[in-house]
């Protein structure tokens, strides 16, 4: 078997058969049970007609059954396509169509919602009550002999993760088995994740960072505790009572954990088992760092950076957080980060260039999208025969080699840990029968990354009542895409001759209306940034 997640699971189940692998509110499994569930799931998938290389959607809540489903698809030599359960039907339809999905595994509670896709893909229940219309994996597993027939190689496709692009519909990022295995190895190396670790998992398994927690757990024989963060005190109780040693988070999760509107139980618990907190998906503010340090004095804090196309690019060593708090650190093991100018030349220190990533975690490109793949996954004359990820992100390196994030190259809005395409928001807003044009704008808010503001014009030339407009949008968009600010314009400024909307002027006017200053961006002193002032 090649180095892969299935192999890691087989080895760990052999080595630590009775050690607890995953714990949830309702049940827990040992490594041998997890392996057997995954093997039985794979056999079920095969009997249900899933072929090697088939795309299998997983639209489930975070449960042990979800982990079994993900692993079962990998063991069946098929490709995992995670689907965020909160997505609206149109987005799910797009992913089913675009990936050519052979089967969709979902929770019994979600079956009525997804039944409209029954003619497009085979529906399978992965968790919950038995239904006569659709096969139920937990039920079928009881009658199936677990059997190992995994024979993919490292270069074979393991997952497609859909992520919003700056234009059009979400693109599928194609990930090989080798990428997943390398991602587990690399992250476990620099975080020093070990067998004794108890990882508190508040992340979802619908994106690379969350799934990597499963991979690390399996690789190292650690234990993963599943938790849905709703009220922070429940999370603090879990961390203390289960002696959690590792807590992977994101800025938006830290904001929720230390919500100043709520009384928190942090003082009444002992968190001394916690070895590290790691975070990716946005910058950590001084407040966030202070809250983390004050609450978890024993924990090292790792600030990390990356994009799904190359999984993870950099991390900052915890002891550099005080001296370089605004840095995204240096390249992760087995990867290199280049800062290149427009001609592909390496930028000298303190000169802004594009972050270009090379090494183990470079994924295979966008699924069935050669045009966009060619824009991001490119070669460089210095590295013949190799594909690098040209992120589009603007960064700068200081004299000591520490990297600093300056700005994104695309127009994406990064909110609550999601990449949101302005175009997608605008498309839904303009579906409203009264609305003519809409422009979605990112408004900086370090607590969530960015808020979405949406400026709009109407047929009647009158503003729409905000509660009804908001209600309408909540029906059309997943909650993380519903704009925080809805701003009416009598008319939009148009650029000179092209007759296009003057997005820059609209953005400026929106910022004025919201009473905030234009993003510092270019005017922000590089020296101030690097000196962490």
């Amino acid at each position: 078997m090649p180095r892969s997640i299935p192999r890691f699971l087989c080895e760990t189940a052999e080595r630590l058969p009775d050690k607890t692998a995953i714990v949830s509110k309702t049940r827990s499994v040992t490594f041998s049970q997890l392996r057997d569930e995954a093997l039985a799931t794979a056999e079920c998938m095969r009997e249900l007609g899933v072929q090697p290389g088939d795309r299998v959607g997983i639209c489930m809540e975070k449960t042990v059954d979800q982990v079994s489903a993900i692993l079962g698809v990998l063991f069946a030599n098929a490709i995992v396509v995670p689907i965020l359960p909160r997505l609206k039907q149109t987005n799910i339809r797009h992913i089913i169509e675009n990936s050519g999905m052979a089967a969709l595994i979902t929770d019994s509670e979600r079956l009525t919602e997804v039944s409209e896709f029954a003619d497009m893909t085979k529906l399978i229940t992965g968790h919950g009550a038995i239904d006569n219309n659709w096969p139920n994996l937990p039920y079928l597993r009881r009658f199936i002999q677990p059997r190992l027939f995994f024979n993919s190689i490292g270069a074979d496709n393991a997952a497609i993760i859909y992520s919003s692009g700056s234009t059009g519909r979400p693109k599928g990022i194609l990930i090989a088995h080798r990428n997943l295995a390398d991602g587990a190895d690399i992250v476990a190396e620099y975080l020093d994740t070990r067998e004794v670790d108890r990882i508190g998992c508040v992340l979802s398994f619908n994106f690379d960072y969350g799934m990597n927690q499963i991979w690390q757990t399996i690789l190292k024989g650690a234990t993963l505790y599943l938790h849905d963060l709703a009220l922070p005190n429940d999370l603090f109780a879990l961390v203390a009572k289960e002696s959690i040693t590792a807590l992977p988070v994101m800025p938006v999760i830290i904001t929720k954990m230390f919500d100043k509107r709520l009384k928190l139980a942090t003082a009444s618990y002992d968190f001394s088992a916690l070895r590290y907190v790691c975070s990716t998906g946005g910058r950590l503010s001084a407040d966030m760092l202070n809250d983390l340090k004050a609450t978890f004095p024993t924990a090292k804090i790792y600030s990390m950076f990356g994009l799904t196309e190359a999984f993870r690019s950099t991390y900052l060593e915890p002891d550099k957080l005080d001296t370089h708090p605004t840095s995204i650190g240096k390249a992760i093991p087995d990867c290199q980060v280049l800062v290149l100018d427009e001609n592909g030349e390496e930028c000298p220190p303190n000169v802004i260039g594009e972050l270009v990533h090379r090494g183990a975690t470079v994924t295979k490109g966008y699924w069935h999208d050669p045009e966009n793949t060619a824009k991001v996954f490119r070669t460089h004359p210095r590295f013949p025969g190799e594909t690098l990820v040209f992120s589009g992100d603007k960064v700068v390196r200081d004299e000591d080699g520490y990297l600093y994030f300056i700005a994104r190259g695309d127009e994406m809005i990064k909110t609550k840990g999601f990449r949101v395409s302005p175009t997608e928001v605008e498309a839904e807003v303009t579906h409203h029968p009264e609305i003519v044009d809409a422009v979605a704008i990112a408004v900086p808010n370090i607590a969530v990354g960015e808020d979405i503001a949406c400026a709009y014009t109407t047929i009647s030339g009158q503003p729409l009542p905000e509660p009804t407009l908001r209600q309408y949008l909540k029906g059309q968009l997943p909650s993380h895409m519903v704009p925080t600010y809805l701003i009416y314009f009598g008319s939009f400024p148009i650029t000179g001759n092209a007759g296009k909307l003057d997005r820059k002027a609209i953005k400026q006017a929106t910022f004025e209306r919201l009473g905030i200053e234009e993003e510092a961006g270019d005017s922000r002193s590089l020296r101030a940034l690097i000196q962490n002032e």
Binding site: A230, N233, R261, L262, K263, L264
Partner: protein, 90 residues
């Protein structure tokens, strides 16, 4: 005067923007009627609207995950307040 349940229903409909079926015993988080943002909104609203102060041990899913739990919590807090001789009479 609106019942506590009615007040909570109204908040979920108008402020949270949920217009599907509601009943006191459904798990609002599991059914994705509330998320981690809106449950905090609701907790803040409960404190203001019912003039009670929620302590750290009150602010857990066991007390705020279902409407029936919330009403029990509100009643408990009000009763405790009454015993302390404060003016709370709801």
């Amino acid at each position: 005067m609106a019942t506590q349940l009615q007040v909570l229903y109204d908040f979920i409909r108008t402020e949270i923007g949920y217009d599907g079926a509601l009943s006191p015993d459904i798990d609002l988080l599991e059914r994705q009627i509330l998320d981690s943002f809106s449950i905090v909104q609701l907790a803040v609203f409960i404190q203001e609207r019912f003039q009670i102060e929620l302590e750290a041990e009150d602010l857990v899913r066991a007390n705020l995950g279902r409407l029936s739990n919330m009403i029990a919590l509100i009643d408990r807090k009000k009763a405790a307040k009454g015993q302390l001789g404060n003016q709370g009479n709801g």
